[in-house]
């Protein structure tokens, strides 16, 4: 549930920061970046301590976010929604195949990594939860501080600056919050896709565009969606369970298509 809240929240932030309705830690490749960093840590450096996973995941998430944003900004018009999504999707695929390449030759760790990679909340024990809590807390504080700034960024950079906001600083702070949240969530559960995409859109339909309401609502909604997906996964595949990442993808993919097909894609 905490992971769902973190992912929903970070999706809402990323959509606000990039003014991009397609932004989501999964689509932008940030979750996979975090995953790759963790897998490399396990496979090559024999890192086993849970707390190191978190640092690695956040590092991977941050690097990927910077890379995708840089690639998406190349060319005319800067980081348009579509270019960012494409850059993210390409990066995401590349990162997950890299992850696979790292894991394949290592039969000893493959099993554990595989189930972690599809996304399973079963791995989240109480110890883990306590470990990630400070990171999620820091991310949450950054997110809530950013809510009003995101409201201004939504009006365009020039106007936001004209209203007395430091645009670059606001964007960096909010992004850092999002990276902490999705990095920590990935460290525990593996890369779970689509939660950060679907939840903020649903919340926006219900509550409107004010980030002061949107961010907390996305956190709650993300928690709800992940819980529901987990339960669904357990019921459908009884007596074993369907990994929660697969269930969210089943729900999320149609929503993604619906969003892309909607008209005013750039008008966020």
């Amino acid at each position: 549930m905490l992971a769902g809240a973190a992912l929903g929240l970070s999706g809402a932030i990323l959509q606000g920061v990039t003014r991009n309705p397609l932004a989501d830690p999964g689509i932008l490749g940030i979750n996979n970046g975090a995953a790759l960093a963790v897998v490399i840590g396990i496979a090559w450096f024999g890192i086993g301590a849970a707390s190191s996973y978190i640092w690695l995941a956040i590092l991977g998430a941050g690097l990927t976010a910077a890379f995708v944003y840089a690639v998406g900004s190349i060319g005319r018009g800067g980081a348009t929604p579509l270019k960012l999504a494409l850059a993210g999707a390409a990066t995401s695929v590349a990162l997950s195949s890299l992850t696979l390449a790292v894991v394949l030759p290592r039969a000893d760790i493959a099993g554990g990594v595989q189930s972690w990679q599809v996304g399973g909340v079963g791995g989240a024990t109480l110890d883990w939860t306590l470990l990630v809590l400070p990171f999620l807390g820091a991310g949450l504080v950054l997110a809530l501080l950013s809510a009003r700034k995101l409201n201004l960024l939504a009006l365009g950079d020039d106007l936001a600056a004209g209203l007395g906001e430091k645009v670059a600083l606001a964007r960096a702070g909010a992004s850092l919050g999002a990276i902490l949240l999705c990095g920590a969530a990935t460290a525990v559960c593996g890369p779970i896709g689509f939660v950060g995409l679907v939840v903020p859109h649903v919340c926006r339909l219900l509550l409107g565009v004010d980030h002061r309401w949107l961010l907390p609502a996305s956190a709650v909604g993300g928690a709800g969606l992940l819980l529901a997906s987990d339960i669904t996964g357990r019921i459908l595949a009884r007596p074993s369970e369907l990994e929660v990442g697969i269930v969210t993808a089943l729900i999320g993919a149609p929503v993604f298509i619906w969003i892309v097909r909607r008209q005013r894609l750039r008008a966020l």
Binding site: D158, A161, L163, G164, R264
Partner: protein, 268 residues
């Protein structure tokens, strides 16, 4: 409002990347009056406005508010004195007019301060002045072009600044809405004494509505004076490379110009 802040541009040099667009430019804007910046395409009008709104850092010289460089001021404090309406601001999909106008109150709030009666009053006054009170609960997407531009002006009014910079506020408006908008700015100037500085393309509207015309040519001030002194056949030839006839506008008594092209000329 009785205090008028004085905005001056002193020996300003500015540009993007390795391109210098403005070279050694100086302007003294008349406090409490309306100034219009005119000039050919790519002469530096919008760049100048961006520097004056501290969106772009000058390479040399400065923009001074009451003698102090604006680029050294706390941006939020500056936003309580100097408002900006960029050329194409972005309205988030689904935002209501009241919410949009309310975001103009941002610079009047600190980290913790709450929305108060002063904010309600500012928003109500702004909606009333732009005659969109009855549209307050509509979303901005539903509005016509003229109504939408009035909503943006209302947002700038809610910011409650003594100086207001506008980048081509009449673009995309039909002639009736252009006049309506400029009349609105005149009202604002007359009632609150707001200093208005705008980039305008239409020379005749600029000459009619502005107290001071600033003609730019290749990044320098070619002339800054009353419309009578600036809108002359000689200046139009030098600034735009266009021959024109200038005569007295029978409606306003201000000068107006009629361009002379190569075709459609009545036999002399």
């Amino acid at each position: 409002m009785t205090i008028n802040h004085r905005l001056q541009v002193q020996d300003l040099t500015a540009g993007y990347g390795d391109r210098t667009i403005i070279k050694g430019l100086g302007i003294d804007l008349l406090p409490g009056r309306i100034s219009a910046i005119v000039g050919a395409n790519a002469c530096g009008k919008s760049t100048l406005l961006r520097v004056m709104a501290r969106l772009l850092r000058p390479r040399g010289g400065q923009v001074a508010l009451d003698g102090a460089a604006i680029h050294g001021m706390p941006t939020r404090a500056l936003a309580r004195v100097l408002g900006l309406l960029p050329q194409s601001p972005i309205a988030p999909e689904g935002i209501t007019v009241a919410d949009l106008v309310g975001r103009g109150r941002h610079p009047h709030h600190g980290l913790m301060s709450r929305w108060g009666p002063a904010d309600d009053h500012a928003v109500a006054t702004a909606l009333e002045a732009t005659r969109i009170t009855d549209l307050a609960d509509r979303t901005v997407d539903e509005l016509s072009g003229g109504q939408r531009q009035r909503a943006w002006i209302a947002m700038a009014l809610a910011q409650d600044t003594d100086l207001l910079l506008l980048d081509e506020p009449t673009t995309y408006l039909d002639v009736a809405h252009q006049i309506e908008l400029l009349d609105l700015l005149c009202d604002l100037n007359a009632r609150r004494g707001t200093t208005i500085v705008m980039v305008l393309h239409d020379l005749n509207l600029a000459a009619r509505y502005a107290d001071q015309l600033i003609a730019l040519r290749a990044g320098r001030v070619h002339a800054q004076d009353s419309p009578d002194a600036v809108l002359t056949e000689a200046t139009i030839a030098q600034v735009f490379g266009l021959s024109a006839r200038v005569m007295r506008d029978p409606v306003s008594g201000r000068p107006m110009m009629l361009p002379i092209g190569r075709h459609r000329l009545a036999a002399e």
